[in-house]
């Protein structure tokens, strides 16, 4: 197996894909948002319970490839307890990781997604859950997508 592929499907990602964290609906949610990549068929719902400005609880469900499902799962573990501003900051870090392949300065599980940058077609898979989460934080009910006309 090529180094690129091993880098893409890291143990952390395989683990989150196989045993997703915080998967399912959240009965106490006060925010919900939906992500949809119609050309590949990936879907991701994110459920939040916001306590003031802070994410008290977060879950996701949906269907898609290992990258999209593991990313959403890992995201929920990272965002729990964060404020909206902190969440946006984390997303910016994550976006840098998946587009440049450079790991973040601080040690972070998000670094597992650095291998995505070698597969540009899969960046949209890794970011779908994040986009849904940010929409939920903004209370934006529109369905978000990370696909463009080039996908």
């Amino acid at each position: 197996m090529s180094a690129d592929l091993t880098e893409l499907y890291q143990q952390v990602i395989l683990d989150h894909n196989k045993r997703p964290r915080n998967r399912g609906t959240l009965p106490t949610a006060n925010r919900v948002a939906h992500g949809d990549n119609p050309s590949c068929g990936d879907q991701c719902n994110v459920y939040l319970r916001l306590d003031g400005d802070r994410i008290a609880e977060i879950t996701f469900d949906g269907s898609g490839c290992a990258i999209s499902q593991a990313s959403a799962s890992l995201m929920t573990t990272q965002l729990k307890g964060k404020t909206a501003a902190e969440a946006e900051n984390l997303y910016e870090q994550f976006k840098d990781i998946v587009t440049t392949g450079q790991p973040p300065e601080e040690i972070s599980d998000l670094a597992a997604f650095a291998g995505v940058h070698a597969f540009p077609a899969r960046i949209k898979c890794a970011t779908l859950g994040w986009h849904a989460a940010l929409n939920a934080l903004k209370n934006d009910p529109t369905t978000t997508t990370t696909e463009s006309h080039t996908d």
């Binding site: 499907y9 395989l14 590949c40 290992a66 899969r122």
Partner: protein, 421 residues
């Protein structure tokens, strides 16, 4: 070269292997592995003769067609109208005027839905489709239904994996007097089912129902005779039959085309124009507004020659053999779900694994040089009905070999092992 007809070849498989030499794209490495192209249901590769026909036209004859009085324009017009006659012969149309050049299958179906449908359907009418239609033979009819107040009805598929194909036992009950048009695919792009087009058309015609056949997946893979099928319209694309992208055709029975209003307006389709009104030409020009795609039409004709040279009945046997071989070998993989019939299938197999998503399969297989397709294959409602969000599809054509199926199976075994951890 004619591997399957003519004199018997000592080894028919060896003859088919020779076909690969005609396709320049196939002779390359992907990620350091020989390319194994199993995505011909999305688009086929092109033989050298088709590529040459296209560049020869641009190098020698390029000029706009019709109304041309100079030498190049006359040559281009002859080439374009010659291509129309060639395509007509390819599907055994009664007359070249029954062939309208379009951008492809999708535009051909939109043309029928918009022009014939817009003029003939009204509220209360029913459009009969099947549950296995590609979005291109579904959405144009949805748009027509919204515009006219007609409703859609579907012939169901049978079996948890659609292994039974269409539920033909229900056909009589579905073909009620409200049904004005029956549009169905000849070959399913996801299931590999070959529908009995002639008997479906006969059942519809007996009740005065107009028939539209989506030939995207059949045209390059089997003999197609529109008069034997008995359809009113047959829609197809060049790029899935070894021809160029950007061109396809609509076969329509003359009496229908002549009675239909234009689909688009513009140059080339008019007889007389004044500031407020226009009269238009008869078909096929009536439906070809604007500068037509004459360059690709010449390459389309070259693709017809190429496939007839291989013998289309032999192509059908070759593709079916490969698909059945793939079906048998894949069915041994743990946790695999194969869609469509076990036998008598067209040259493609779609499958899903319980624990590995199709996009991960395709990404891994790419590393082994395999070109597969993963996703909903423009069949979202069918996928939903079968409880799937996506499948992986391997599709076969004249240049594929049994050894390539072994590469596919070995790659899938490796992927399953990796994800099983």
């Amino acid at each position: 070269m004619n591997p399957a007809s003519g004199l018997p070849h000592p080894d028919p498989r060896a003859a088919w292997r020779d076909v690969r030499a005609d396709f320049p794209t196939l002779h390359q490495q992907v990620h350091g592995k020989p390319l194994v192209y199993l995505d011909s249901a999305a688009t086929s590769q092109k033989p050298r003769v088709v590529i040459d026909a296209l560049s020869r036209f641009y190098e020698r004859d390029n000029s706009n067609v019709h109304r041309g009085l100079h030498a190049l324009s006359m040559r281009a017009t002859d080439a374009y109208e010659g291509a129309r006659a060639r395509v007509a012969k390819f599907v055994n149309a009664a007359d070249p005027a029954e062939i309208v050049f379009t951008r492809g299958t999708t535009e051909s179906i939109n043309l029928v839905a918009s022009s014939w449908g817009g003029a003939n359907l009204k509220a209360g009418d029913v459009i009969l489709l099947t549950e296995m239609e590609h979005h291109s033979n579904l959405v144009p009819w949805q748009l027509l239904a919204q515009r006219t107040g007609a409703t859609l009805r579907f012939v169901p598929v049978v079996g948890a994996d659609a292994e039974g194909g269409l539920d033909l036992a229900q056909l009589d009950a579905l073909l009620t007097p409200e049904v004005k048009v029956f549009a169905f695919t000849h070959v399913s792009n996801t299931l590999g089912v070959i529908n009995p087009a002639a008997s479906l058309c006969a059942a519809a015609r007996a009740r005065g129902i107009v028939t539209v056949v989506d030939g995207a997946q059949s045209i390059g893979h089997m003999p197609v005779d529109v008069r034997a099928i008995g359809c009113d319209f047959y829609a197809f694309s060049a790029h899935k039959m070894a021809g160029p992208t950007g061109i396809g055709a609509l076969y329509g029975r003359q009496e229908f085309l002549d009675a239909m209003p234009p689909y688009q307006g513009g140059g080339g389709m008019i007889a007389q124009v004044d500031y407020t009104t226009a009269r238009w030409k008869p078909s096929p020009e009536r439906f070809e507004a604007g500068t037509p795609n004459f360059a690709d039409a010449t390459a389309f004709a070259a693709a017809c020659d190429y496939l007839d040279g291989l013998d289309r009945a032999a192509i059908a046997r070759h593709d079916t053999e490969l698909a059945q071989l793939a079906y048998e070998k894949l069915s041994a993989l743990p946790g695999i779900r194969l869609l469509g019939p076990r036998t008598d299938r067209s040259g493609l197999v779609s499958f899903a694994f319980a624990d590995v998503h199709a996009h991960d399969v395709v990404t891994f297989a790419d590393e082994d040089g395999l070109a597969l397709r993963g996703g909903h294959h423009c069949n979202q409602p069918l996928m939903r009905k079968l409880g799937l969000t996506s499948t992986t599809r391997a599709s076969f054509y004249v240049y594929n070999t049994p050894e390539e199926i072994d590469v596919l199976v070995a790659s899938l075994q490796r992927i399953l092992k990796f994800f099983a951890g």
